[in-house]
């Protein structure tokens, strides 16, 4: 036991923070599960668990782009959308061949991650070579393009397999797919994916968060991660010591996109109805707010910010019409409070150890 404590004390501060993050997530999962089995958790909170998990993964993955890579992405919801719809198609299409819901969920999340990674690669290759704010502009456009593309997408499934049509003329309907009588429409253009069997679970969400954390934290602490952060801090200096700019930027961006896709699949399979308009600019900004309030580059901050800021508007339902106003005021208060030097100094005095952790967070 003593040896273990000695060992923990000998660890680097960053490693300690990372382990504390893992431990915190596991603890939260165990506590929530205990409360749930004890019947102490009300329905509202139980119902919010899966979307919270999805938004946490979104926030952590966006933090990789914004906080670690230092590029502004305004279309993160676009990757979520790609993941959500490809995941829904996979899960619904495999309903007959794989009856086990958890297995289908895993496949759907993988499919979502792969498709979103591909989208991230396509967007990233030309754009990450540029300097300045081009990534923000292009990702903004990407989010809108994805929304419009999915609005044109018609997908159905019958015994002959998957049918797809692209409704560019605006005159096709789901009937034009020529599905057999027993066939099922998966995505109906603007009406989105309706009639999806909801198979997402909190456990799956927890596992996804853990995987996301392992991937992101290990990437950040690795050699590649140091190269990425060097690019963020000074591109010219990094280039001069031989860091391959495009490679490392793309590595971070594609990882971030694929995790967003996985989150999208988890989210999409939690609701029986999903429309492309959900993944609008507003959703991208919402996730960006989680990241900024949690602290750029600070993963556990993103987790807490996403969970708290998701529950907050729901908890404020008592205020009826004023709830969005109260929500905004709370956001401003949090921003002022976290940036206030006097409060920070106060916290430093109360928790002397925290100062070190906050520096390298």
């Amino acid at each position: 036991m003593k040896k273990l404590i000695q060992k923990i004390k000998g660890l680097k501060k960053t490693t300690k923070v990372d382990f504390a993050t893992y431990l915190g997530v596991i603890l939260a999962f165990v506590i929530v599960n205990l409360l749930r089995t004890g019947g102490l958790l009300n329905r509202s909170l139980t119902g919010m668990l899966v979307p919270i998990c999805a938004y946490i993964v979104m926030a952590v993955s966006l933090n990789l782009t914004v906080g670690i890579l230092g590029e502004l992405s305004l279309g993160h919801a676009g990757f979520m959308s790609v993941g959500a719809f490809s995941g829904v198609i996979a899960a619904q299409g495999l309903q007959a061949s794989i009856p086990s819901a958890p297995a289908r969920l895993v496949i759907a999340i993988l499919v979502g991650a792969v498709f979103a990674a591909a989208a991230g690669f396509i967007v990233g290759v030309p754009v990450l070579r540029l300097r300045g704010d081009y990534l923000a502009i292009v990702t903004l456009a990407f989010g809108e393009i994805i929304k419009d593309l999915i609005n044109c997408l018609l997908v159905g499934y019958d015994s002959r397999g998957l049918h797809m049509a692209f409704n560019i003329s605006g005159s096709l309907t789901i009937n034009d797919l020529g599905l057999e009588p027993g066939g099922m429409a998966i995505i109906k253009g603007a009406q989105g994916a309706t009639g999806t069997t909801a198979i997402s679970t909190f456990t799956a969400g927890f596992v996804l968060i853990m995987i996301t954390l392992v991937v992101v934290l290990n990437l950040v602490r690795s050699r590649a991660g140091r190269a990425i952060m060097a690019l963020r801090d000074n591109r010219i200096a990094a280039e001069s010591v031989g860091v391959n700019v495009t490679k490392y930027k793309l590595m971070a961006f594609v990882t971030s996109a694929s995790l967003a896709g996985a989150a999208g699949a988890l989210y999409g399979l939690n609701y029986s109805n999903l429309a492309a308009s959900k993944f609008s600019f507003d959703t991208s900004i919402l996730v960006l707010v989680y990241v900024v309030l949690g602290g750029l580059g600070n993963m556990w901050g993103s987790i807490i910010a996403a969970a708290v800021l998701y529950i907050l508007p729901e908890a404020l339902r008592e205020f009826a019409d004023y709830r969005m106003l109260v929500y905004a005021v709370v956001l401003i208060l949090v921003m002022l409070a976290t940036n206030n030097d006097q409060l920070k100094a106060l916290a430093g005095r109360i928790l002397p150890k925290r100062k070190g952790a906050a520096d390298n967070g």
Partner: protein
């Protein structure tokens, strides 16, 4: 600098506190009209009521209804109207002093499936036994999937998509389904504007608009109507329609079918007037609400036709009583959604009487009983006489077309 920051923090804190204080003061007034004695005097003819007659003795207690609809956001006019209408019906029924009493709690979903499901869970936490919602289709599909799983009886006032009810035996609609609206409109136009060239402008990223347009076009083809132009727009492009209007005008369309909500429709009407293009505009229930829109010049809507089951200037005593009361409490003329919400509560009232439910039954037991009762009852409401339901959840009632004249709906 530091001091400034702290001062700002304090100011914001004070603002927040004063806001909270303000809220708690005004909270009670959110949307609950007092259960007025006016309600009792009107004696509120409660539909036919004959079906429930034989079992009235057993049904009783205070039932908690949970309403879900967009009370904020761009579709708030629908959710608010439906919930206000439902509240009036609840007050009327309570004022009758019968054994069945209602309590309505309305939760906001901003027409978003995610928030709709959240609102639903919150309502169940607060003890809701029957769901009146969701007001919009998108949220309704997600919510009804949950209520089906949990066996909670659901009656949507205006969630018109077929997907809201399909495959769920516990979900019923007060409004027409989208396909019915599409075919109904096509039939009406084919009958009354024979040989007309029809143009359609619809929003192709919206389930409601796309759904109606699809069935409209299909029915138009079988009726042999000529559709000369189809224009699309999306949520982000609903502020300018000059291209679509020019397209319709160049194609020589003399009937313009608009299966869209009233906000974009108001822009279309204004722009068409500016380019002096004056076809017959034909809308569906989403067009309802255009006259109540703030800052809209109602003279632009002159001559617009729409398919709606409710007209606020209908002559019958019941509609007049409802309009008067609604105007008194909320200061505006009720639209079709208000009537849908009002009817929804009366339908539940009738069904509870027919099924003989008591409020101490569990939500699942109430659900099973009401599902059986729904296909047996016939209700006279504001939005239709003798409404009956199929086991699929679809309502059958007669559609009605109205035309806007001098700022009010009149039957043509």
């Amino acid at each position: 600098m530091k001091k400034k920051n702290l001062a700002a923090l304090l100011m914001a804190g004070a603002m927040c506190l004063s806001l909270l204080a303000g809220c708690s003061g005004g909270d009670g007034g959110e949307s609950n009209p007092p259960a007025s004695d006016a309600g009792a005097q009107e004696s509120a003819p409660a539909g036919n009521g004959n079906q429930g007659g034989q079992t009235t003795g057993t049904a009783g207690g205070t039932f908690k209804l949970g309403g879900i609809g967009p009370l904020t956001g761009e579709n708030a006019i629908y959710g608010k109207a439906a919930m206000n209408g439902a509240q009036i019906a609840v007050d009327e029924i309570n004022a009758l002093g019968g054994p069945i009493q209602f309590e309505l709690q309305a939760e906001d979903d901003q027409a978003d499936p995610e928030l709709g499901v959240n609102a639903y869970h919150k309502l169940l936490d607060d003890g809701a036994q029957i769901i009146v919602g969701s007001v919009t289709s998108g949220s309704g599909i997600a919510v009804s999937a949950e209520t089906y799983k949990d066996r909670v009886f659901t009656l949507t006032p205006s969630g018109s998509s077929v997907d809201v009810i399909s495959g769920k035996d516990n979900v019923f609609q007060v409004c027409f389904t989208d396909p019915n609206q599409g075919t109904g409109s096509a039939d009406y136009i084919a009958e009354n504007f024979s040989g007309a060239k029809v143009a359609v402008i619809y929003r192709n990223d919206d389930a409601y608009s796309q759904g109606i347009r699809d069935t409209f076009v299909a029915e138009a083809e079988t009726k042999g109507m000529s559709i000369v132009y189809q224009g699309t727009f999306t949520k982000d492009t609903q502020t300018d329609f000059s291209v679509q209007l020019a397209g319709a005008q160049n194609a020589g369309a003399d009937v313009l079918f608009l299966p869209i909500y009233y906000q974009p429709a108001s822009v279309i009407l204004a722009q068409a007037a500016a380019m002096s293009y004056a076809p017959t505009f034909f809308g569906v229930d989403g067009m309802d609400g255009i006259l109540a829109m703030e800052g809209f010049d109602t003279s632009l809507a002159e001559g617009v036709m729409l398919l709606t089951p409710f007209s606020a200037d209908a002559e019958d005593e019941r509609t007049q009583g409802f309009v008067k009361k609604y105007n008194e409490f909320y200061g505006e003329i009720p639209n079709q959604f208000a009537a849908d919400g009002y009817d929804a509560v009366y339908v539940i009232y009738e069904a509870i009487q027919a099924a003989g439910c008591t409020s101490d039954m569990s939500a699942a037991d109430i659900c099973e009983a009401l599902v059986k009762a729904m296909t047996a009852i016939s209700v006279d409401g504001l939005t239709g006489q003798g409404m009956t339901w199929q086991s699929t959840g679809e309502v059958s009632k007669a559609p009605m077309a109205v035309v806007i004249k001098d700022g009010v709906y009149v039957t043509p």
